[in-house]
């Protein structure tokens, strides 16, 4: 049965594995290029914007972003080209009757097909993830990881996210295909829906963990805190009672503080006189990204499981 499921989707599977191989090889080659082209001193420590470094760096940053976007797009592509046609094509061509009138139960047939689609999908996405991360880590402080684990492209391309998104994409596509029964229609709906899932995840993942707060002098300027890999969430002022004051309220309170020849101390004093004793920054520390990954992956897995159950239910009702 595994042979049959494989035979029926081998075209997509070969394309997928082929793409993964190309990306892995490209990542390894480009890693070599990165290391030979950029002086090691540029890649360590704090971000080095010195002229020689930026010249050597050249367009590597853009290339890295393209590859990262490709990995972000993989779950979409897998849902689109592997998930949606999994049952839509059979139902569209009427060949589902062949499988549905044999000795194998529909649910078992569905699980085998899904499994045969999942394994190469996960393998190729994981291979790409590992290869890209190997490359990006070599790029050190100039690479995309300088934006920290929370950035909108770093987060979905690291930890459990690629695998979880792939499972969700595949399962969503499969369910929609079984419902729509038209391959093309299913592909369109899958992309639309999965885009929704992706942005929902983007919008909610910052809520999974609690923020941390730093306070600093009311009129910030020079001593704005720099926290490696942190994701700023909210900022504003703190008054003498410890309550927060938004930027909007603050600007109303401090309308008189502006002046042509005022010094830093003058500003700070003026802010303090108006009740703003300090600035605060709420942020997500890099270390907490791991927790968010686990929660997000669990939610995506739940979505995938629901889609699989939904597909089984849908197929049971198909005549």
């Amino acid at each position: 049965m595994i042979w049959l499921a494989w035979r029926l989707q081998r075209a997509q599977t070969w394309a997928l594995l082929g793409l993964a191989v190309v990306v892995v090889v490209a990542a390894l080659v480009l890693r070599g290029v990165t290391l030979s082209q950029v002086d090691p001193s540029c890649l360590v420590g704090n971000i080095n914007y010195s002229m020689p470094c930026t010249r050597q760096w050249g367009s590597l940053g853009a290339v890295m972003t393209y590859f990262q976007l490709l990995l972000v797009a993989m779950p979409f592509a897998i849902g689109l080209f592997c998930g949606a046609p999994l049952f839509a094509r059979e139902l569209e061509q009427g060949t589902h009757v062949l499988a549905f009138t044999q000795s194998v139960s529909r649910t078992r047939w569905m699980l085998v097909k899904a499994a045969v689609a999942v394994v190469p999908a996960l393998l190729s996405v994981l291979a790409m993830q590992v290869a890209l991360s190997y490359w990006f880590r070599a790029a050190g402080s100039l690479g995309p990881y300088r934006y920290g684990p929370w950035s909108e492209f770093n987060f979905p391309t690291s930890h459990l996210a690629p695998a979880a998104f792939t499972l969700a994409g595949l399962a969503t596509g499969m369910l929609i295909g079984a419902i729509a029964r038209k391959t093309l229609l299913a592909m369109v709906i899958t992309v639309g829906l999965f885009l929704g899932v992706w942005f929902a995840a983007l919008g909610t993942r910052e809520l999974y963990v609690s923020t941390e707060r730093v306070t600093y002098s009311a009129y910030g300027g020079g001593d704005y805190p720099r926290i490696m890999g942190a994701q700023p969430i909210d900022s504003g002022y703190v008054n003498a009672d410890g309550a927060t004051v938004s930027h909007l309220e603050a600007s109303a309170l401090t309308a008189d503080c502006s002046g042509a020849d005022r010094t830093q101390e003058d500003y700070t004093a003026c802010y303090r006189d108006n009740g703003l004793v300090a600035s605060y920054l709420d942020y997500l520390p890099a270390a907490k990204a791991k927790t968010a990954h686990l929660i997000e992956a669990a939610l995506l897995l739940a979505l995938a499981a629901a889609c699989v159950a939904g597909t089984a239910r849908t197929l049971r009702r198909v005549a």
């Binding site: 035979r7 061509q93 009427g94 009138t101 139960s105 005549a319």
Partner: protein, 281 residues
């Protein structure tokens, strides 16, 4: 004699249309039944309910005594309408598909069917075969499962006369050899005249007639007589000209006075019942 198919008060409703209602009949083992009726009579629906492909809205289907519930019984093979096949697979791969999906698959039987007429090239893709050969492959796929009951939904549509003959020969071989029970649907009775011993006539989702063809024929007669006279017989349907009435009637073995009696033939019988079903509404 063992009853293979037992249908009780069977009904199927699709969203807006009542495809079948109140169907009841039984078919004995080894019978070859012509499931006849106009397009849209409910033939495909009936077959897919017996095959467990669809679930009935009311009533029951039993195959060898076991109720069919959303799964194809192990004894049943269905050749669905349009003879669906995966076009990209070769003939050999299609047979391997049968083996993959059936623990009791007989490759020997499948090969026999593929070689029965002109042998089928196993390495050809199914999509590249002629309609007749595709039917042969579809039958091999059906019969490799070693069914006790085969359901064939319009297996002869779009086949040329030679291919029709060949398809029926393949099927009849199975009936001869293994005592397989068969239900073959067609909207053309002439296709099935010689191969069937039972008739199941369906119209508007209802069974109009069911029985062994010889019994059914013996039970009916065609009466011709003057237009204005009455006859003491159970009239199925009648047609009139100005002076003459021709009717299909149940019974009588001898002609009533003033009437001419002839044995009914299958085609007259089927037409008579279909006309009666039309006139009812």
């Amino acid at each position: 004699m063992t009853t293979v198919v037992q249908v009780e008060d069977l009904g199927k409703r699709y969203r807006r249309t009542q495809a079948l209602s109140g169907c009841a009949f039984e078919l004995p083992e080894g019978s070859v039944t012509a499931l006849v009726g106009p397009n849209g009579a409910g033939k495909s629906t009936l077959l897919s309910l017996i095959a467990g492909l669809a679930l009935p809205t009311s009533g029951r289907v039993r195959v060898y005594g076991a109720q069919v519930l959303g799964r194809t019984p192990p004894q049943v093979s269905l050749l669905a309408q349009g003879r669906p096949m995966v076009r990209g697979l070769t003939v050999a791969e299609t047979m391997r598909m049968g083996a993959a999906l059936n623990p009791h698959w007989s490759q020997r039987r499948a090969d026999e069917v593929l070689d029965l007429l002109s042998p089928v090239d196993r390495d050809k893709k199914v999509g590249e075969l002629s309609a007749g050969t595709r039917t042969q492959v579809a039958l091999a796929f059906c019969l490799g499962r070693l069914p006790r009951l085969v359901l064939l939904d319009e297996p002869l549509a779009d086949l040329d006369p030679l291919a029709r003959d060949e398809a029926l020969r393949v099927l009849m071989t199975d009936v001869a050899e293994r005592g397989t029970t068969a239900i073959i649907s067609s909207h053309l009775l002439t296709d099935l005249n010689d191969v069937c011993d039972h008739l199941l006539l369906l119209d508007k989702g209802r069974v109009q007639l069911c029985g062994e063809i010889d019994d059914v024929l013996a039970d009916h007669s065609v009466l011709t007589g003057p237009a204005d006279s009455e006859v003491d017989a159970h009239v199925v349907s009648a047609s009139h000209t100005e002076r003459q009435t021709t009717m299909l009637a149940r019974g009588p073995a001898t002609a009533p006075a003033g009437w001419l009696r002839a044995d009914a033939d299958l085609e007259t019988l089927v037409k008579g019942y279909l006309r009666a079903s039309r006139d009812k509404r």
